[in-house]
Amino acid sequence: MGALLRDHLLTVLIFLPAVGAALVLLFPASQARAAKVFALAVSIANFGLSIPLWTRFDGAEPGFQFVENARWIPALGISYSLGVDGLSVLLVLLTTLLTPLSLLFSLSHVEKSVRAFSMAFLLLETGILGSLVARDLALFYVFWEVMLVPMYFIIGIWGGARRIYAAMKFFLFTMAGSLLMFLAILWLAARHRAVTGDWSFALEDLAGLPIASGTQSILFLAFALAFAIKVPVFPLHTWLPDAHTEAPTAGSIILAGVLLKLGVYGYLRFGLTLFPESAMRYAPYVGALGIIGIVYGAMVAFAQKDMKKLVAYSSVSHLGLVVMGIGAFTSTALSGAMLQMINHGLSTGALFLLVGVLYERRHTREMAAYGGVAGIVPVTTAFFLVATFSSIGLPGLNGFVGEFLTFLGTWDSPFRWWSVVAVSGIILSAVYMLTLVQRVFWNPLVHEENKALTDMRPSELIPAAVLVVLMVWIGVRPNDFLAKINPTLEALRRTTIERTLAGGARTPHPVAAAETNP
């Protein structure tokens, strides 16, 4: 057992939820609640098992750790190879944390097909964790698709009124992107066979392949499209508001908290590693789309009347910031963007959770149906305020550190004007979030039915409190987190720039150019 956990920790982390999902089937329909508790216990156990990833992870080491290698389909060169590095470690931990929190929240809120819900959630965790630690493109693709199916059902079965439409839209969008990526993966494997004579889907084998510049662009765009849809980057974002709005609260938390990050993660892990030249060439466009996302998402969020939709559009805005930081490609901006991914998971996760608290009581998401509830539900209000201030980047909480580093890094890059535009996000985010706070929690209490609202129960309070603790931790001691991610990011940045320059790209990224002639 000890050896299993030492040498195959990642495998255990990935498949424990899947095994748990299978065991959920053993519960009879009459024991639905026990099944819920069991699923929760499995996810908590998984979180406990993931703690060594925090304690034993060596932040100074830029490469993969907790590595596992096994042959899977040798004839096609597909291997079962896993590992975490600074890019993935925090996201893995975020996933193992948010899953039990979401299940805990659902304990008292999901009533329909409870066993199936628990199974879907555990399988989702398997898919997400697998995508995050896979070092083989075929393996990654498998997990990437595994992730899609439970989410489709979570939205489609346990969602709101327009859930079928939303689930369909989510599925079609994501699928459209991933199919192109799948073709590109196959092309790469075939290219590897053409060059070396062997099949391989391993990331490190495919990374150094000689590919003609034009072809590289096409492959890069295929990958980028898949990830851009997932993030989502303007103008591919319209699935997100629908999916978020219709998804059950727990689904929204996971969707916002982790699933969206997979897009950015995939871009960093695969886009940059496989196609450094193209990634550098297109970086300005990536950043520009990010900026549009920041401003556009914020403005559209302001126009919303539905709380959940507002928070969903705010995600578009926040992830626009992350994307901009990646486009700017300075070390500070990359650190900030990476940290901001975690921050967004915490703050937006918390916001969805708290909106869920209100929704489960009143069954409406319309802001107009609330107003003045601060006096009725003070604890919910307090948590909502903290999450709001985290979301709008108030110093002392997590959002500020990520935002500040991203802005500063972007300012420091050749794309200074991006920062000038993007910093307006701090005004816009205050506008839409405080409007939400005012309309829902403040103002006179006009709706009689709100007087009967009850405040948070323990199963809602605990997840919210855990998230708030993390917000404060990152805000006050960001170095604990930055130290884990920075070496990997810096190594990735160096390699990308070096390989771009070595490749003799016609139009190197200005950052790369600046690095060579300081």
């Binding site: 559209v300 302001f302 070390s331 006096g375 802005f407 500063l408 300012w411 910093v423 960001p478 930055l482």
Partner: protein, 648 residues
Amino acid sequence: MSLWWILALPFAGFLANILLGPRLGKRFVSVVATGTVAAATLIAFSRLIPFVSGTRETVIESIGSWISTDRLSVDLALRLDPLSALMLSFVTFVGFLIHVYSVGYMHHDETDAGYARYFAYLNLFLAAMLVLILGDNFLLMFVGWEGVGLCSYLLIGYYYDREYAAAAGRKAFVVNRIGDYGFLLGLFGIFTLFGGFSYDAVFSAAAADPGRYAPALGLVCLLLFVGAVGKSAQFPLYVWLPDAMAGPTPVSALIHAATMVTAGVYMVARCNVLFRLATDAMMVVAIIGGFTAIFAAVIALAQNDIKKVLAYSTVSQLGYMFLACGAGAFVAGMFHVTTHAFFKACLFLGSGSVIHAMGGEQDIRKMGGLKSKLAITYPTFLIATLALAGIPPLAGFFSKDAILAAAFAWHPEKAAWIAKLLWAAGLLTAGLTAFYMMRLVSLTFHGAFRGTHEQEHHVHESPRSMTVPLIVLAFLSIVAGFFGLPVVFGEHANWVEGFLSPILLPLAGLAAEPHHLSHAVEWALIALSVAVAAGGLWLGWTWYAKQGGAVPARIAARYPAAYALVAERFRVDELYDALIVRPFVALSRILWKVVDVLIIDGVLNAGAFLVELLGDLLRFLQTGNVRNYALGILLGLVALMFYVVSGF
């Protein structure tokens, strides 16, 4: 004890009050809130007294790194130097007084939860303000900067179930964020120029090599100043401050008069090295300050809400402070910050006492004759009024005189006439200030009572916890000025000048050029400003206390349009609403309904529609008749055979 305790204590008070306060009741909250602040004040003074009497060496206390990446390293470090010492002294002390006052003011009209919330926010505010003034780098200053903004937001919206209060809180935060936009970009500029955020590193580098940094600093200073314009409520971002009066009155005294709003002045004074290198930016600071001073003073002439008058007065006085900084008289600006903290806090607390006595009434037209009933509030209010008006030897006289003298002595290289114009504006503002304050005093305390019978019966002096702070602040309004005597009383008469001079780092290659005025001119200026102030007071007294407002009413009747314009605050809010808010709302709706729903989803739906259309056409092949399908198979087979045989 470490400087960190000074801000840790109020923060601990915040945590205790927000978490336990609602359950443990008002007594617990009062004790914790005032106790932590009192302890913080004591620690602050236990550090200040040795500092002032000693060598006044800058002390930096670091507790480690906050953010570090390979390009950026920011420490959690606090700094005690003359500038932060000055701020520390009055922030802690006035903060403490206002906590005491609040115990009386908030006691009987709130639930336990509301009471706990109020004091928790007030404690948090003090902690944030202390971070702002004690922080040793720009980033910590920004932490405090945003922290006080947060508390301001929460406290303005303290009466959250009143829509105007909730809206005012939001407005304050958003307008401040507009300023922060500039401030952040200014910080980025500093990072680009100096590679770090630590004060010592930035200022010594700039002072050592002005020629290298001066060209880029113009823009950086302007951006920083945008932040100050937001936080310190200067034109054109002052609009949030009058609305901020929706908060409880002690909050208006502490945050929106004495401490937070002066953060912008503190920041500019802190960055004096940078600003002195950017003469064009200095000119902008002075112009904005001078214009705001007179603009807000004019508005204050025609306001009838006691707190609104004081709010516009605050905006106007903050303008004074920026005028001083712009003219290079950072010490005079900071001196006015300090004296203003005392008398304006006293005025606001006094107005709170009046409102308290009147059962919540704020309209001065419905007051009058309160002089005899409020035996402590009235004299303290009067003293603070005279101090604000600039009557010697009260505190306001010395600080205001220092600013006017500095503005008069200021000879910018370009457009020296603007300097003189600003001086004239400052002088005129002094007269207007004296006038509207005397109008306020006359309408509130003199004449006949104009409220309801019920109110008249209810009027009473406030409890001790409220009157004692008034007395202390009134006393300080009298004596604080003697720390900054004008130069005519001797070369070293101005203690503040000597105390703060270390923060004015000498700039390499640029000789300090103090435009000392001759004693005769100084005396003349003093006489002039006293005359203007006295004139304003006399006019206010005659028109309102003695004649009952007949003359101003006639003037208002003769020029109704002009009067309405002033009374309606030049309709700036309405202008912003039409120019910014409504277009923004419209644009965001358009982006959503047109771009998102119509265009993007429209394109997608069009794609889906095409697929559906194709399916609609092709489905006619499905006749449902098995034999048709068999015929299809046959035809396919024939075609295939034809293909194979003919060898296409």
